[in-house]
Amino acid sequence: MRVGIKEAVAVCSLGDNRKSIIQNIKKEPDITPIVFPFGRETRKRNYKRILQNKIDNPEDFDAILQKITKQLIKKAKLTQDMLDECALIIGSTSMNIPCSEEIYKKSNENMLPFIGYGKIGETLAKNLNIGGEVTLFLTACTSSASALLYAQRGLQSKRFKRAIVVGFEFYNLLTMSGFETLGLLSDDICRPFDKERKGIVLGEGCAAMLIEEIGANDGFFFEICGGDNTCDISSPTSHQIEGTLIAKTIENALKDASIYKDEITFIKAHATGSYNNDLAEGNGLKLLFNNIPPILALKPYVGHTLGGCGTLELAILYFTLQEGFIPKTFGFKTKDEEIDITPNLEEIKIQSQGVCLVNHFGFGGNGTVLVIRYGGIW
């Protein structure tokens, strides 16, 4: 069975619909830093916000997840019968911390306002009448990428007929403070593989995708051919610098997808812009490929949306490939000789089918790689 993405919707700093995301990815993104309160002082950090969607209370939080998922259901023309046989798979790092944090600030209780992640999924499924399994993935930055892999495997083993996969990450001071305390945040733009990198730029976003069996007559197709997930136990915060396990994960994913490495058209790298991630991912790619295909980094546009980046960055690819182009990587200035990787600096027009490798590597040693075959009519 061929499983693929049939429809996608997204909201991020580039816009809240397909058209605005495609338009804005061709422009230079806003690079103005924002002032954040860290401990007893304030510091400027770059951050990619969704301006229209401030999350100040549980209603806002549920409303945005509901809005995005509802849009997907409408666009994909899913009937109630279809929703009855639909799984809901969710991936996020912070989950409902943003609204928990807001309530915690205002209350005198020394207790987390919302306990149990399952309620997020249950509320969404109940409000939208989605009948099937509800599963939430909590694997840090790979959360929604792992949710996509789980959905692909679930369909192939006929555990469900279709799945809505939702990935999200919303602003909260706890996450910002945590990354700040690790010294990882940048006040500049995100510059993956660049010698002038200054660190990670976090962002918020939400994307929902419909995963279904795809047919021969689907026109444009976006097939999840396979993937792999591994655990690198060398460090809790970064992958093995030599890139051995990253190369192994990619190799396993290609084997799972029955794709040869020379069939890869381009790579959507994880590319966080942190030194360790850039070096490990770069080394992993160099171990595997003699000639590395063009590398695309999307975090300079939308920031690192942590557990939400799996679906958000894939949704952006889904939109741009459907439009017939691979975006350029924004903001790259100076090649880092130690890593020796230059991402694609010009937009690439596509007119034939291809295969894309989608990398995600996160805290806790988690690595998820997906192999996507795309093609159809442009």
């Binding site: 809901l88 099937g132 806790g364």
Partner: protein
Amino acid sequence: MTTIYIEDFSYFLTDQNRPTKEIKKELELKNGKKYRRINRYIILALAGVYNMNDIENIESNCALHIGTRNGCITETIDMLDQVHNNSLLPMPFTFIASSTNMVNYHIAQSLQLHGGNFTISNRHSPFSIALDGAYFDIKNKKNSSALIGCIDEIALPLDKFKEKIEISNKKLQEGSFWVRLSTQKENAKAIMQEPQRYKNIEDALKHIEENRSIYIDDEKIRSNDKDSYYLCSNSSLQALQCLEKKECKKIAIISRIGEREYLSFSIDSLR
């Protein structure tokens, strides 16, 4: 057809009064390892997994599927307090360890596992979803074995926590429980049949043979009649304990996994 076996089952349960240091010391004495910078949530997981027989000889490509209802909440509450009430930045290692999937990292590191690694949650039955995913990954040859666990911890103050999770009349237990699945028949404790899905509980019950002990995992039913209550997939834990104590030979676990979706597992003891 691939037959999938339960090689072993283990658990570690305690209450909130047992000091973390004591559990950690007992664990380190047991496995001879030294653990640094890990929180109670991770220690509860390790204590459960190291109660499994022959765990040190587990194959390195064994997959790890972990289910949790609430995740690592104690440290999250502490950090919220630090950031919002004391205007402090969280400590780096506290922040890292508070990520719920860090428990997978520490188990994988302690056992030297490199295989697939998933942490999932569900309101009613996180363990069943983890078990289902692991079963099909083995069946479809993504892995040859898997360690499936369920971990949850109690947050304090206890009365507030009980109020939040809507349990007032039971003694709460925290900790972890574990199942090891593989295709190896040798020394296996039970056979696990292919999980089945149903649209309602009546249908699920209808398909279960008469001689099976039935356990239902549904947050809204909370079917157990015992005084103590484990926070996560409580009925699955009880079913596996029944099998382990040889109080029953054939069990069925029915778990609610969605608005109108139930999973049913049938497990037959081999002893």
